[in-house]
Amino acid sequence: MPLAHRLRHLHTDQPHLFLLALMMILALLSINPLTWLVLTISGVAMGAMLFLMASGMTLTFGLMGVLNLAHGAFISLGAFAGATVMTFWMADTAEHADLLVNLLAIVPAMLFAMVVAGMVGLVFEHLVIKPVYGDHLKQILVTVGGSIILMQLIEVVWGANDMPVPRPESLQGAFIVSDAVPLIGGIALEKFRLVAVVLGLAVYGLMLWIIDRTRIGILIRAGVESREMVEIQGYRIHWLFLGVFVAGSALAGLGGTMWGMYQEILSPHMGDEMMISVIVVIILGGLGSIRGCFYGAVLVGLINLYVGFLEPRLAAVATVGLMVGVLMWRPQGLIPVIKV
């Protein structure tokens, strides 16, 4: 198949891959290849963390039609909850460089963050979201209000000041690729970013497996198409909504923990500050689409790093510009979820 034909095929059928390839090729033409490689890995790592933070929001919007603007507060909550466990654990093992011991500190922190964010999500859905299903204007109003309350509660529990987060010893610094390795010898790859890539890919794979291969995934996809028909089959859609909302909140908590450790400093408003990127990611990918969310997050991560390297002042503009450009090309996003 000729290259031009292949590109046209990719442009029409796989717009996310086409855009990804286009962006990487344009960056490669403008940046030194080794720097490009480091920026690409860093961009994918940032995309992985963005995916963790955004996937819950796209899921709740896709299935429930709920625009939860308090999602950022769940990111903050997860970051603080995770940091609390990290601080407690690191008090004894701060100098411990053993990777296994360090990973053992991260895993309970992430689990605790997910449990806390999920439990608060359970209460939040019952008190704030449930009364406003189907009314987007009220959803915006009550979730903004709920977000303010959650952030105030974070300040009550953890204080209003910024909080430093210890990063485990073995996840600090970078791997230096040996000069003996051809082509990529000498480049530095930040360890934590590699962990973020692995975790992001693992969560993405797990979510795709659940959505594509399990009964609960079939139910979620069916619910996105028609809630009424799901009920007619005998399933209580509200239990499904509740489960998805709790899972979405837990994912926000997980993303918050990773983002907090990456930043190494937390503030109650850190989740809110991420909301612009999160919203760009889910609009770019197609509201409600897990695959779209993943590729949207990687694209936002990459454009941030590439443009940030070439002209730092344009990084934020480029992110929004990417979204505007994609929406003009494909108004439903890169991988839309079709509702009937």
């Binding site: 079939i218 996809r221 996105v224 009424e228 009920e231 005998g234 399933y235 209580r236 859609i237």
Partner: protein
């Protein structure tokens, strides 16, 4: 008369500010196929939706197997043994045929023997087993909608206009499928506009007009009485042959 499986007494229901059902009284005999006829806008589809709990009852009650199910949530009604095939068919177009049926089997994995029976009833479902249901033709979607309703044993099927927009050959296949379901003593309430299809299948019939039942009796009686058809439905059987 056969013992009723479902009875509606004085059902009133509104949609937004409109009063749609004005005291519907209807009895569905167990193990029979009852056809609900009436002109467009008579309230037939709303009656089915009301039985399923999709439209709120403002007065009256729905009794199923001697239990008052008025006000029950839709999933509870579905799990009690009533399956509903809406006029739109309600196929999940992004799911495969297989996934549509997996979802419909609410009590666990699909029974292989029953699945084979469904494949014999509707062969295209086996052919397109792993294809997205949205890619099926109108007739195949209707087959899937009915297969979904019977993938597990149900006592009562509510089917809304299954022949709408379908080719005569497909309608014939559907009629054969309903005959098989009848032979298994499944009770069926069928809303139809196609009188020939109704006459072939129906044992009892009810006619609706302006949100109420205006006639109920045997299908044979209505099929043999052209004047009654004309009076109730504004048609003569000859015009539909």
């Amino acid at each position: 008369m056969t013992e009723p499986i479902l009875s509606l007494s004085g059902i009133r229901a509104d949609i937004a500010q409109y009063h749609i059902l004005h005291g519907v009284d209807l009895v569905i005999p167990r193990g029979e196929l009852t056809v609900l006829l009436g002109r467009n806008g008579a309230g037939k589809s709303t009656t089915l939706r009301t039985i399923m709990g999709l439209t709120t009852v403002t007065d009256g009650n729905v009794r199923y197997r001697d239990t008052d199910i008025t006000g029950w949530p839709t999933p509870r009604i579905a799990r009690s043994g009533i399956a509903f095939v809406p006029e739109s068919m309600g196929i999940f177009g992004l799911l495969t045929v297989r996934e549509n049926l997996i979802l419909a089997a609410v009590n666990g994995p699909m029974d292989e023997a029953r699945l084979d029976w469904i494949f014999a009833l509707f062969p295209p479902l086996k052919t397109f087993w792993n294809r997205p249901a949205g890619n099926l033709s109108g007739g195949q979607k209707q087959m899937l909608a009915i297969a979904r309703a019977v993938i597990e044993p149900r006592e009562l099927l509510l089917v809304d206009e299954p022949t709408k927009g379908l080719a005569p050959a497909i309608i014939n296949d559907l009629a054969d499928a309903f005959e098989q379901l009848k032979s298994q003593q499944v009770s069926i309430l069928l809303v139809e506009q196609n009188f020939n299809f109704s006459r072939r299948l129906g044992q009892s019939v009810a006619v609706m007009s302006d949100g109420a039942i205006v006639h109920a009796g045997s299908m044979a009686e209505l099929a043999d009485n052209a004047d009654l058809q004309h009076e109730l439905l504004g048609l003569a059987l000859g015009a539909h042959q």
